[in-house]
Amino acid sequence: MFGRIENEDSIDTKVGFSPGSLFSSFTSQDREAKLTFTFIPHQILLNKDHEFFEDGDIHRHLYLQNLSTCPVYDSPTARQCEFRCHISGCSQVFSTVEEYEHHYNTLHRHMCSSCQRSLPSARLLDIHIQEWHDSLFSILAERQDMYQCLVEGCSLKFRTREQRKDHMIKIHQYPSDFMFDKAKRIKKINIANKNRQQKGTSMEVSMSGSEPEDVCQVLSDQPEEEEYMELNHSLEPAHHKPTETTAQQRETLLQVSIYFKSQMAHYFLHGAPHDSNVFPLDLQSMCNDPECIH
């Protein structure tokens, strides 16, 4: 399977890889590997006009034309490769590995796959997913303490974000302007919207004044970034619903779902009541959510 490819005019990367020597059987994994990995060792023949030979030819002709040597050499020197962030849409380039890794760890590590936000640690990512993308969370949070303290090792939980924040300020001595669970945005446009949405629920309003500064800090990669729980480098995430509902509405919904479940259970077990109008009407009167479809 090793090729001798003659008269190849270009050094393209599209050459084949045959893992046949490594895999003893033809599993579907092997077949997949054969399609994915394509490198085959092969010799390369180059004709005299190939661009691979350009620099050498130029050097020869400079010599023939009496211009080759110069005390201080002036021709292209080997460059160290640059490093590029692979995250689609980011594409920033760095000259050292360290710079790249710092960038990646700051902006792309522990990324939430639902909303593309990057969190500083795996634990905070878990908390984020739970608090923002778990649809049952807000419902359960009404009945029990769900908001965990963000400090590693502290196992306390709280009923509201506010309470958690108070705890972290009082007990763990966090500064009051610490960005607890507010999303930072790279694009300034969304700041105003976010403020409006968050108004009812948090005390982050007081921090809105410092927002532009925070955005600038995010953009310029200052160490202060480390304080932020979330960094958002995309637009309003698709899956994240703003928490518009009040506490009372949430209570209603909870009751509705419990009720609905028991009604359905009843239906299945005993059949529908003859007066089926009772069912929808009950729900409609109970539900205050303007978006309720019933």
Partner: protein, 515 residues
């Protein structure tokens, strides 16, 4: 040797002259690159004459009527001594390019020069050929070699003659005429330039200046664009090859006057012959591969010791290319007898180390030759792959991975070739420190580098679970996870495959969400 000597004069420039020189050189280089892209890269040589070395500064450019006056005197003169003086004056006038146009437009000017070229007086012949030589390298397109074709049968005849200086001038004149036109080359071929070159190199084999001139002329003949199918087979059949090879002696104490000039020219001829791929089997059969590799070994030894001569890269370059292409002339196993000096591998690794900063393209071509050695049929290449480990050369290759200009890609090919040999080779590669190096190359900006890195990595981790674990220990998993967000699908697929099938723990991200 006229060239390196002349260059040494230039090396003495100082101060603002140097800056100007560098500026001119950079501009000139740009022109050459453009010319190469247009397939018009051509160079012509102008020999300096002894009496000009003595004179200082530039000649006064003569007015056209003065040039014509000189020419008239040449036409009319009967006294040979006087004619010689007139020809000399004309020749000096021709040092200024504007005089070329004057002369070429004069009716029968070339015929008159040719008459003197074949005339009875040796001194007149010498001056006449010098005049033709000036014209042969004229910057004016009007003064092309077709206009000078009347001279060629005589020039060709004379190169089989005995006088070295005269022969040298004839050779360089012919060499300057070769690249201009297909028609001229056909005429030269028909008039027997190749057998003439063959006898010339034998007659003058001890005269390095003439040997260099033969090499130059031959290289011009065979490297010209649109080379007809007839030239190279004629050269191969002519018996020139053994003589070219005899010039490539691995003697590295070059004649102080001539330097590496003759060897350089012959090496470039061999490169042009090999890359044309007309009959590389014949080249190999006549010992080309053996001779080129021996010389590379000698040069590699010198380079490794740190004694890099001025102009050495001009010799290394064509040798590398010749060897690189000749490796495809037949199954590698059949070429084994010519390749049994393992120091060749050491030389091929010494060149990149030495020339990385000054000539990165040479480093890249050196690794290309390694690719051709390690990528033939598995049984044939395994000896070279093993030798790379035995000579502890793999770490040297790994050290080249940070460098662009195509160097790291070629190195990754070689490492991929070695990994392909099997599990034992993969283990050795890992021992040499390849896995942490791959962690770095996977982060590079060039997607080709990343793709090749994934290929090599794939080979390694698939060959032995130990290597997969080692990769994870080297913190390789986060790198692959990051790669899954790449905007190149081919890269994402490879990374995903590795994460799913070969690396613990299995951490895949749903890439269908990626844009």
């Amino acid at each position: 040797m006229w060239r390196l000597n002349a260059v040494r004069h230039k090396a003495g420039r100082q101060g603002s002259d140097l800056e100007e020189f560098k500026f001119k050189r950079r501009a000139h280089e740009k022109e050459l690159r453009r010319a190469r892209k247009d397939s018009k890269l051509v160079s012509k040589i102008l020999l300096l004459n002894d009496d000009e070395n003595e004179e200082d500064g530039t000649m006064d450019t003569l007015a056209s009527d003065q040039v014509l006056e000189l020419f008239k005197m040449v036409c009319q003169g009967r006294d040979l001594v006087k004619k010689e003086a007139d020809l000399r004056a004309l020749r000096k006038a021709l040092r200024s390019p504007s005089a070329h146009l004057v002369l070429i437009r004069q009716q029968s000017s070339i015929a008159i020069l040719v008459t003197n070229l074949r005339g009875p007086s040796p001194q007149c012949r010498l001056e006449a050929v010098r005049c033709l030589h000036e014209l042969s390298q004229s910057p004016h397109s009007e003064v092309d070699s077709w206009r000078l074709r009347q001279a060629t049968p005589y020039l060709i005849t004379f190169i089989s003659g005995q006088s070295p200086k005269f022969t040298e001038l004839c050779l360089y004149t012919l060499g300057n005429m070769c690249p201009d036109s297909e028609n001229v080359r056909n005429i030269l071929l028909a008039q027997g330039i190749i057998p003439a070159l063959n006898s010339c190199i034998q007659i003058h084999r001890t005269n390095l200046a003439v040997v260099e001139a033969v090499g130059f002329t031959l290289s011009q003949l065979i490297s010209a664009n649109y080379v007809t199918g007839r030239i190279i087979p004629a050269v191969l059949a002519s018996g020139l090859i053994p003589h070219l090879l005899s010039v490539l002696t691995p003697v590295l104490t070059p004649d102080s006057q001539f330097g590496l000039g003759p060897v350089i020219e012959c090496a470039w001829c061999l490169h042009y012959l090999a890359c044309s791929n007309v009959d590389n089997g014949a080249l190999v059969a006549q010992g080309t591969l053996l001779r080129c590799t021996s010389l590379l070994v000698t040069l590699g030894g010198a380079v490794a010791k740190g004694s890099i001569e001025e102009g050495m890269e001009l010799l290394i370059w064509p040798l590398l290319r010749c060897v690189g292409n000749l490796l495809l002339s037949g199954p590698l196993g059949a070429l084994q007898p010519q390749l049994n000096d393992s120091r060749l591998l050491a030389a091929l690794c010494a060149f990149p180390q030495a020339f990385l900063q000054t000539h990165p393209a040479l480093a890249r071509e050196s690794v290309w030759v390694l690719n051709n050695l390690t990528s033939a049929a598995a049984a044939d290449s395994s000896v070279f792959c093993s030798a790379l480990f035995y000579l502890n050369l793999v770490p040297v290759l790994i050290q080249l991975l940070p460098f662009s200009h195509g160097i790291n890609i070629m190195v990754l090919r070689v490492l991929g070739n070695i990994a392909h040999q099997g599990r034992e080779y993969c283990l050795h590669l890992a021992q040499a420190g390849l896995l942490p190096a791959l962690c770095a190359t996977l982060k590079m900006a060039d997607p080709e580098v990343v793709t090749f890195s994934l290929e090599v990595l794939g080979q390694l981790v698939a060959s032995d679970p130990q290597l997969a674990e080692e990769f994870v220990r080297q913190s390789g998993l986060p790198v692959l996870e990051a790669i899954q967000y790449s905007n190149q699908e081919t890269i994402r697929l490879r990374a995903k495959h590795l994460l799913e099938h070969h690396l613990p723990p299995h951490c895949t991200v749903d890439t269908s969400a990626s844009p």
